[in-house]
Symmetry: C2
Subunit: 232 residues, 2 copies
DNA sequence: AATATTAAGTGTATTATTTACATTTATAAA
DNA sequence: TTTATAAATGTAAATAATACACTTAATATT
């Protein structure tokens, strides 16, 4: 019998960080929140917001902390994506990075805080050059988001409480990167029966105005318990 | 402007490990390879095979190393699943664990090596009690495998080079945990046109014998380049 | 040599889902 | 009052998924 666990004492310890891919939606396109490095190395380049894992902190805790630091938001939708371990990925010192993507409602975030961190929202199609392996992280997160939004109703995390059918459709179109027929879209969404149609209309987009909807989270969760699955 | 990156020097370093969920298929059910702990804590309980991340090693390197140590196999299909960071997940010392699942052909592995590690194959339905958070890791890996096998032709990694249509079907039935009609299954697989039907028959399962097939990896990859996607 | 046994191999009809597509309507602005 | 604009809505056609049963090839038995 060979002992398969080496002595814990002899083992190398490493820095462990989390990096957050923060997604927002501005009614027209999906954006990510990046911060500008004002120190070397890679000063002037843009990067994801990150932070080191602290003693007694889970990676999820750390991601929440990092997120709150930059946006002021708590209780944000977060999902772990992938862990990057290339020994040379960070030129300063070897760091393992665990990535999370966050879905926030752009209008909710604290602009003062993000200004303090020289943060800026970028359209996914116009991201600037990123440090290290951050572009890869972003790509991976987008793929995961694409998959997840199509099988779970997490898209609503990116929209205001009340939204129009067109906003919702536009959101899915941008995330999935495909055009959708509006009648077919409405049909599919309505069939799933997870939206509450309000009396209220949004008058900003047209003369006729368009009805506002809300996501019925309780109803969805009850249906999910009964085996229903969201599928777009 | 607030400096968002703390000094690297001040930061806590942690042990980082990989744990491998090793899947195999024995023509009847999906199994995982577990090792029995012969030391405290949790002596006598079963666990995943794991190992610490070494200097200059990526997590994928580490997973490959761990896998070769236990099975003698190289170039095995490996996919990172999730990273576990609860500060108390390992009672001996705080350890971050990155999990990978591996798909191997059971008959290819080195039994001598696995015997040396007190390893044993368990049916997924009859896994023994596992240490720490290893059961959670297994569950997560199964879910990922379920998803991945249905959108990429990785199931073949679990089968011998030559296999019958029924073996392939049985494999999918066990992974996806649902019965499939054999005519519909064959139709779907044949439509995708990624199998080579051999002249050869396997005579072990019936008097009539059943034709053997091979996965045409090159053809699949060319088709994938052209936008084709495997979907079961 | 004939017969029995067993899993392999195969096709069609039905149902459900997805896609394509155009007109009317409510409201504000002119 | 008219005009302009996006919102709202339904149906037919095409495609995909499902349900379902008999014939065949080879071995084993008599």
């Amino acid at each position: 019998m060979v002992s398969f666990v080496s002595n814990y004492q002899d083992q190398t310890q490493l820095l462990v960080a989390v990096d957050c891919i923060i997604f927002g939606f501005d009614n027209d396109e999906v954006k990510i929140l990046l911060i500008k490095r004002n120190f070397e190395p890679e000063k002037g380049k843009w990067s994801l917001m990150g932070g080191f894992l602290q003693p007694n902190e889970t990676a999820t805790n750390a991601a929440n902390r990092v997120l709150e630091t930059l946006t002021g938001l708590q209780d944000v939708y977060l999902e772990q994506v992938h862990t990057y371990t290339d020994p040379n990925r960070d030129p300063v010192e070897r760091t393992v990075s665990i990535t999370y993507y966050a879905l926030i409602k752009i209008e909710d975030h604290n602009e003062e805080l993000s200004k303090q961190h020289s943060a800026h929202w970028f359209s996914l199609k116009e991201t600037p050059e990123l440090i290290f392996d951050h572009q890869q992280m972003v790509n991976h997160a987008i793929n995961r988001l694409r998959y997840k939004t199509s099988v779970q109703p997490i898209g609503f995390e990116l929209l205001p409480e009340k939204f129009t059918m067109r906003q919702l459709q536009k959101l899915y179109e941008t995330i999935l990167n495909e055009e959708i027929d509006k009648r077919n879209f409405a049909k599919k969404i309505n069939q799933m029966d997870v939206l509450i149609k309000l009396e209220e209309k949004d008058m900003s987009s047209s003369k006729k105005g368009s009805f506002l909807f809300q996501f019925d989270k309780d109803k969805y969760e009850n249906m999910a318990k009964e085996g229903f699955s969201f599928k777009l």
